[in-house]
């Protein structure tokens, strides 16, 4: 018996070592860092332990702003992108001709580099000496006045940010939902048709419950993904997100470690733990809310 046990652990050893070194140890280290006050990379010493790091981070205006930005992005983009993806998937599965062509078009953003997409958005929105950007040209056409979407007012920047985020997460959601819709058996619809069910009732009573596990999966991963937003912001507003007022929580953590104001691993760790707590809480709420609504 004993020997068998050892053997089992032996087989697990490579994975355990790998996970231990690259996952468990850093995780524990982050927690330790977050409680060490005044830790410096250079001296490898701290001045003491306590909750000062959390206090500092929570009172830092940049962090509060990052928190607010992140929440706005999450609250707007997750429902909008999921809803939009559902609408597009429904439309895609109800057409026969050109379906593949449309599917490819909708999937393109997924295989396009973030920075390349950022460039495209620049062409659309950025004001330069030569042009106001294509969107502003459209606004002009309808008699509006120019808006500086990249360096202008906060709402304009947030609008571009959310649009960008929705557009970039849409393809994956469409892909998942079209396949989920395709997996609903045709017989259910036939049975509903013979019974004279209205399209809206078919959607709410049959289609939606049948694909609810997939929608739930998309909402959960969507929330987590949106909370971790950073690279998309950089693609649009450059690396100095704090001065652009568009920083996110992950961006704040990064800046604390490596940015202009870098070199504060303790603050970065504290912020990272706060982010973890937020994501964890939201996911738990999601799980509880959806428990009675999901039909596996």
């Amino acid at each position: 018996m004993k020997q068998k046990n050892y053997k089992g652990w032996l087989y697990l050893l490579p994975a355990i070592i790998f996970l231990g070194v690259f996952m468990v140890y850093p995780l524990i280290d982050v927690i330790i860092y977050s409680f060490e006050e005044g830790y410096s990379f250079v001296t490898q010493k701290s001045t003491g332990t306590g909750l000062y790091n959390f206090q500092y981070v929570l009172h830092d205006t940049y962090f509060v702003q990052a928190l607010r930005n992140t929440f706005i992005i999450v609250i707007i983009t997750v429902p909008v992108s999921t809803g939009l993806a559902l609408l597009i998937s429904l439309a895609l599965s109800s057409i026969k001709p050109l379906r593949n062509a449309f599917q490819t078009i909708y999937f393109l953003p997924y295989v396009t580099n973030t920075l390349a997409v950022g460039l495209v958005f620049m062409v659309l929105f950025k004001k330069t000496e030569y042009t106001d950007g294509m969107v502003n040209l459209l606004i002009h056409l309808f008699g509006g006045s120019s808006v500086d979407f990249i360096d202008g007012p906060y709402w304009a920047k947030m609008f571009v940010m959310c649009l960008y985020t929705v557009w970039i997460v849409l393809p994956f959601k469409i892909l998942i939902l079209t396949s989920a819709l395709a997996s609903v058996k045709e017989d259910y619809y036939k049975a509903a048709r013979v019974d004279g069910t209205r399209p809206s009732r078919i959607f709410y009573k049959i289609t939606l419950p049948m694909i609810s596990p997939m929608i739930f999966y998309l909402v959960i991963t969507g929330f987590i993904g949106a909370f971790k937003a950073y690279s998309d912001e950089v693609a649009l507003f450059g690396t100095d997100l704090n001065s652009a007022g568009m920083n996110t929580m992950v961006g704040y953590v990064y800046d604390m470690l490596y940015g202009n104001s870098g070199g504060y691993p303790s603050f970065a760790s504290a912020a990272a733990l706060i982010l973890f707590a937020v994501v964890f809480t939201i996911t738990c709420i999601n799980l509880m809310v959806s428990k009675n609504k999901i039909h596996y």
Binding site: D187, K190, M210
Partner: protein
């Protein structure tokens, strides 16, 4: 309600685009289904029986021909307005709804003056559930039910809106053998209690024969014979119908009709019926008219002086019956199978066994047209 099909034809474009010809799933179907009867649409898979059912339900629209419910032409009426209840082969129960919600689902579609209150829906659902004896399972989900129970829920859901026609697509094929026997009796009982004109599709001839008031035998989209099960069995119109009905299947021999006698090989087994011989001016008259001789397994009587001799293969004892498996050079297929009631069995031993045949169990078919003579 009486259902009348008139020259009903359904063509599908060929899936293989290189082939220009359409696939004909149903070809020129014309028959009448009397009110309140249980009808079995019978045929091998791919014979168009499910298509016929879908045409009647309205899920498919015919390429040509008309469908009448009573005196009303319903050909262009959408399925929801035809008043049909449809039970699918895999039942198509909504997995996320309870049995009660499943049964009540069609009632929730009613609008306007037909709209029902929650209590009325519950009452109607319970009524339908009682009819199929699942009223104690109303709170369960479909995946908590056995196959037979799911089948009943599906039937209750089809019955709850009080359809004038009930259509069942292979209703018993997903059940195990014992349950199938039980459920087919149940089906027959429900049909008799409700008096709803019922059409069911099956590839199992035993199933169709046992409960139908009338069977329709189809092959490749064409109706081969319509009639009461026993009539069709006793008087098949052609070789296909004869072969398709009955287990074990009919034994078919190559034979001929000569001088008023039916020959298998050199042995005259039976007097030929009137008009079975070829016309006198026919060139083949001298050698006799070439026919297929079909003999039902129960048509053999062991007789030491019988006219038909076969080579004994083996004897299978099955309690009530004994089946004698044998070979004959003129036989089409591998082995001849005859069923003899065990108490009638005198001692049979090889290598050659001789039989008499019962005239009513022998059918003659023209070699070329395969039609019954």
């Amino acid at each position: 309600m009486k259902i009348t099909l008139e020259h009903l034809t359904k063509r599908f474009p060929n899936r293989n685009k290189k082939i220009k010809e359409d696939v004909i799933a149903a070809s020129d179907l014309t028959f009448e289904i009397p009110d309140g009867k249980l009808i079995g649409l019978l045929g091998p898979s791919g014979c168009g029986k499910s298509t016929t059912l879908n045409l009647i339900s309205g899920l498919e629209t015919p390429t040509e021909g008309r469908i009448y419910f009573g005196d009303n032409d319903v050909t262009d009426v959408p399925p929801e307005n035809r008043g049909v209840g449809l039970v699918f082969q895999n039942y198509a129960l909504y997995p996320h709804l309870t049995v009660e919600d499943n049964i009540a689902f069609p009632l929730g579609n009613l609008r306007g003056k037909d709209k029902l209150t929650k209590e009325q829906m519950h009452e109607r659902a319970l009524e339908a559930a009682k009819l199929v004896q699942i009223d104690t399972l109303m709170e369960r989900k479909p995946n908590e039910l056995s196959g037979g129970q799911q089948q009943r829920v599906a039937i209750a859901r089809a019955l709850v809106k009080m359809p004038s026609v009930l259509l069942l697509d292979e209703p018993l094929s997903n059940l195990d053998a014992r349950l199938r026997l039980q459920t087919r009796e149940e089906l027959s009982r429900i049909q008799h209690e409700t008096g709803i004109t019922t059409i069911f599709v099956t590839h199992d001839q035993e199933e169709a024969m046992s409960i139908s008031d009338m069977i329709v035998v189809m092959k490749e989209g064409v109706i081969h014979q319509i009639g009461k099960p026993q009539e069709v069995y006793d008087h098949p119109d052609n070789l296909f119908v004869a072969k398709f009905l009955g287990t074990p299947p009919i034994n078919v021999f190559e034979g001929s009709v000569k001088d008023g006698k039916v020959y298998i090989g050199d042995e005259a087994i039976l007097d030929a019926p009137e008009g079975a011989s070829a016309p006198a001016d026919n060139a083949s008259a001298a050698s006799g008219r070439k026919v297929y001789v079909g003999i039902r397994p129960e048509g053999f009587i062991p007789d030491k002086n019988g006219p038909l001799s076969v080579t004994l293969n083996k004897i299978e004892v099955m309690g009530r019956d004994t089946s004698i498996v044998a070979e004959h050079p003129a036989f089409i297929g591998t082995t001849i199978r005859s069923i003899i009631p065990s108490e009638d069995l005198t001692d049979v031993s090889g290598p050659t066994v001789r039989f008499r045949v019962k005239p009513g169990k022998v059918h003659l078919f023209d070699r070329e047209t395969e039609k019954t003579i």
